[in-house]
Symmetry: D2
Subunit: 345 residues, 4 copies
């Protein structure tokens, strides 16, 4: 499918930096770096985060595509330097002569890319895989999404996220209690949340070819977040137990305009936005690195062992919701750029 808003990202968890190049933006878009950095900060916050988050405050540097605060049409490059790189320079060196076994890693961690990635790319030291598969790379995706959000704002689109459930907890207080309990037992938690984009024009996406459906494109963008295991629209997760007469959102007139009293469809009909709020529900799995070790296999000698413990987050649902917002923003920005003449704004 065509991508007018296209981008590539790169960078390893402990490498020098994360980088993104965004190609296709119109000229004249104001780029508010404070907003980008506030999004990066949101990603690092949330109850249940461990210590690593405290030492790193991510900020994005723009090194191309913007002049005097506005895009000029050329590709925008975003860089997030790793504050901790000094300590990893040797282990993450690009130079052949620096080869070392220090911090080499051989134990497959269940729930991670370690096993499949090392088979696919034929890597012995699993660090070659985990450095890229790490959730760390979502930081630069949030920066890209923040740029997309600036375009959405230009067109008046709104965005918010709400947490629905963590463990058995269904409100803020219960969330904290669930997280505290998991932390005590050295366990981890995921969660369910929804992202809502409002004031979108009618007709983003299309019914005419499957790969243009906006719900499909959003599902891809969100499901490819490593921690995400379920995506649904509106009341879609329960659609199997509701009859048609109760599920479909009837249409009424109010001051000559179409209105609805329900939004079970989550703002998407026939692969297009229908003018109602776009409601995307997401389930994040529990963090796969836990203090309570999981049984696994050591790839260096193919023996059974227990998975390493490397970091100490208990729950990262807030970060996940920021990443999901960012990815959806990219899909919507692309659609808006196709809808409106977009060489300059």
């Amino acid at each position: 499918m065509f991508e007018k808003f296209r981008f590539l990202t790169s960078g390893e968890s402990h490498g020098k930096c994360l980088t993104a190049i965004i190609e296709g933006l119109p000229a004249g878009l104001s780029i508010d770096t404070d907003f980008i950095n506030s999004e990066l900060k949101r990603r690092q916050q949330g109850y249940g985060r461990g210590d690593r988050m405290n030492i790193e405050t991510d900020t994005a540097e723009i090194v191309s595509g913007v002049r005097f605060g506005k895009t000029i049409g050329s590709p925008v490059t975003l860089v997030i330097y790793n504050k901790d790189y000094e300590n990893w320079q040797k282990v993450m060196s690009t130079k052949a002569e620096d080869q070392t076994d220090e911090k080499a890693f051989y134990t497959y961690r269940p729930g991670h890319a370690d096993y499949a990635g090392s088979v696919k790319y034929n890597r012995h030291d699993l660090r070659d895989i985990l450095e890229r598969s790490s959730a760390r790379k979502t930081a630069i995706e949030v920066a890209v999404g923040a740029v997309a959000k600036l375009l959405l704002k230009h067109y008046g689109v709104s965005c918010k996220s709400t947490f629905l459930q963590i463990g058995q907890g269904k409100n803020e207080e219960e969330f904290r209690a669930e997280i505290d309990r998991a932390k005590e037992t050295g366990d981890t938690l995921g969660g369910k949340f929804e992202v809502i984009y409002g004031r979108l024009p009618v007709g983003l996406g299309s019914h005419v070819h499957w790969d243009r459906a906006i719900d499909g494109r959003i599902a891809q963008a969100v499901m490819s977040i490593p921690a995400v295991k379920a995506v649904s629209f509106g009341n879609g997760e329960n659609a199997y137990e509701i009859t048609g007469s109760n599920f479909h959102d009837e249409m009424f007139l109010s001051d000559g305009k179409i209105t609805r009293k329900t939004n079970n469809a989550g703002g998407v009909e026939g692969g297009m936005t229908n003018g109602e709020d776009l409601v995307v529900k997401v389930v994040m799995k529990p963090i796969p690195t836990l203090r309570t070790p999981l049984k696994t296999v050591d790839s260096s000698d193919m023996t059974e062992t227990e998975a390493h413990f490397e970091r100490s987050d208990t729950c990262a649902v807030e970060a996940c919701s920021v990443v999901a917002e960012a990815r959806i923003a990219c899909v919507l920005a692309n659609e808006l750029m196709l809808k409106f003449p977009s060489d300059s704004i």
Copy 2:
């Protein structure tokens, strides 16, 4: 992202035919048209289907890309002729001089593309939208998926679907009772099912860039089926209430090979297949055309009215599962063609 298995489909619900062109297949692949037609038949079956399904038995004709039963490397064209076209020739004519208001359609049907599509494409007669947004077009997608499945079979991959829930029903008998009840009241039902692909190689997809994640690509393929509102992997829909120590699939050794006792991940870790069964759970919404009419708006005079009743299916979960299988097959075929040298097989 690169697509080695690429295709376009076309055709309106009551047009002359549905067509698909598949480009990128290796030469030498045996094309079993009986298999393609049996898949088309599966799509038309299932308890709860109405009368239209009985009069049409879809068969696909291959008009290019295959010679003496095998692909020759050039694009494969599949055509499904509409058996009922004779009665629609006038209404669906491509010629300007045939313009008619017969069967013109002005009432937005909730749950369909009618409203968003007519706004987007600026169409007055909603038939211009509904003819393409109709589920009828999934027939040709099933044919494309059947070709993809032939490639998967060549590599030893297996496929099956299981129905999980329809209404409150959780087994075959209960499904039928639910459907009978809905039918009596002029209502419709959706359902929940899972598609399982087995014996896949480890490492399809990738963790290195978000748009290569296999779960994301499958989620797009399935969520873009108009009737689908929720997609999840393995036990993903419940991942918000399970702790990490209970969710992640521990790894063991058996005869020197990696084994697992659970498959909560549904066969995907880090955006790659991990050697376990690929388990995709799908929720289909109830059919939006029902005998019990929904409140809506007439676009011709912008007055409130009730939605038309056009067809009589009560439940089409079986068809939906066949379409989901087909779409997933296309994603997997693409990955297998990237993995294996694929100019000929």
Copy 3:
């Protein structure tokens, strides 16, 4: 790169039909089938064509995407049936049980895809390759290009082609003499021509990323015509022997508007249209099937032999120019659709 005007084509030279699906067209575009067929006719004409052209008068049938003479947003399918298929049904059968050696072909023809294609796709009977590599497939590309031209016309764009040289001939009379002479000796000829698109808006294409440059995209579209071996813009083919002060097109004002007295750049600066005529020069190689046989190799027993003689065109420059026009039209249509809001026109 994004493609808003995207299409796939299929079909073998002696197969049942050639097919194309075009996806992405705006709704409301008038589709004049007479124009499409007149383009197909242009492709079949020209001094120097042999007998096959006489028996086939190609016409395109539209089987989807158009209703009452206008596009409706859904994919447009074009079909050109092979008038001669009856005689080839057995040799080109898709069915395994029809396998035959009749018309099997084992002698590599220099200048054709036979050798490379059979190595790549591992085909024994070269007919599996030559049926698709045949120039016959350009008929459906001309039909696709005709649809693109209808969009260009909507935006006021003009198109014409001029023949520059055939052999040593530089005008109509000399062309005919050259062709007559070649025909007598059983030889073939190519030629040089230019395609000119006028009244294009300034700024199609872009300087910001290499794959968006309009000259690059046009060069790909034209050079991929099997018979084309050289492509240049404006006076580009001679640019190596002209100094900068003589080559670059100075800018003047006339009634407050930019004007130029020269167009050595052929209407492209910095990868964008600059408001002058877009001038694409093309060199077509001589037809590789000739009565004077070429030395070659028989693939069935790997012995030296002479190439078969199958058809009798002496020169097909006119056809080639029509195909080049068509391909350029597709590139320009895509750019116009990106420039203008294009869900409906």
Copy 4:
């Protein structure tokens, strides 16, 4: 079309740095930074270059995707810092508060993107366009191409370029005389050269669909170099005046293998490599910035004026040939990665 070797580049001529992200490389490829830097140096050399080239010695830094000298499967990021950035920090600042008119630029330079770019992107200060359209950006493309060349080397592919003509000069001595003469008169020169890739496997590209033809893809890659105005294969530029019996490369046997005595086709038949040397001929236009000023228009007040003089190269054919090599390398690398299983090497 699928791109397995995909990349984006960014950076302005006087910005902080040029950046490229390459996605899709197999793991295990040795990355020789000395080779990358030697390619960058080649781009800066050649008789006829002015002073700017002397102060900048480009070197690429790898900041992701490589560990201990080898790729690890994740995206590779290349950065070339601008040695002169300190002097441009203010003029090229990304910050709104630094806005300045210093070095603002209003005179359209014929032969450049200035006019079309400023119209397209609605820019007042032409610097917003020229900073990206500058040939400076080809430096990072050469770095990307160098990585592609490392992959080609792994598969045994060879590469060289030869200069064919500059002005009327046809050998090294005459080239220098032509350049000296142009320099004296304040004029500039282009040139004609050929790039030859050898030892390629048979069958890269394909005849089955137009956008897979290798000659088309190479033509795009080369023609999109801003200075290039003509591209041809083998003896293609003269194919209009040679008869078929003299043009097509006859095939013979030598020790049971296919050989040819000529290579007029330049190694491409039917859109595929045919085992002969791939010979791409390229015409570069003269540098459009010259001491002898060109007549043009001042965009700030729309009056006729003369074009600015900014740099002092007389001829940059050597640089252009290095860029052409690089771009072709990217196309070939992609094809090799599709041909061979390429997750690791």
